[in-house]
Subunit: 98 residues, 2 copies
DNA sequence: ATAGACTAGTTTACAATATAAACTAAATTA
DNA sequence: TAATTTAGTTTATATTGTAAACTAGTCTAT
């Protein structure tokens, strides 16, 4: 009836992060921050969770002398996102049968 | 970019409850429990939250000498559900623009 | 009639999550 | 060189979610 929703993705901010990464393939911390409107602290925490789960890869370097954090979705992350979307449909399309 | 997701609906169990109610218009506690696979305690708690928010109406009576709890979605609840689904789309359909 | 099991829930207590506030560390500007 | 800004991380707290424990009444077999 109702499919399980990956708790890691069923979170507004993490879902937004993944949604962004799925479409752009690579994004900087500040870009994600801007697009999602999240606070830096929250974003940092959620990025870390996605990284722990290996849904994204995080690359830290420097650009113009400033720290630069670049995120990229992994195959595992893409698969999880796609399954999440698929499972979500079981909640959205009413299986009418009064 | 990303629309707000009503936190009350962005919960697996509450979303399942609402999804059920939206399509059947009226359902018993035990029916919802069966369909969602939730524990009675959790279901009771989440139904209460949906009721507090006036997303559903809860009617308590008796059937065959046993307590009977019947839930029904309200106009407000239906509107909230529809908006939730609409907002959710902003996370699911990638706005490609590399 | 009453002990034990069952139905239909509710309450409570705790674990997990989310998030803002506070902080770090270095760079830039005045 | 002091104040401000950039780019984050860590921590502390408030909010949630959930299972376990409980309530209240019913059915059944003895």
């Amino acid at each position: 009836m109702f499919k399980e929703l990956d708790p890691l993705l069923h979170s507004q901010l993490r879902l937004a992060i993944m949604s962004l990464l799925v479409s752009v393939e690579e994004a900087e911390f500040t870009f994600i921050k801007e697009k999602t409107g999240a606070t830096a602290g929250n974003l940092s925490a959620q990025i870390d969770k996605l990284k722990q789960a290996e849904y994204i890869e995080v690359n830290k370097s420097f650009k113009n002398n400033y720290p630069l954090t670049v995120c990229k979705v992994t195959k595992k992350g893409l698969a999880a996102f796609e399954q999440y979307v698929e499972h979500l449909k079981s909640y959205l399309t009413p299986k009418n049968s009064k």
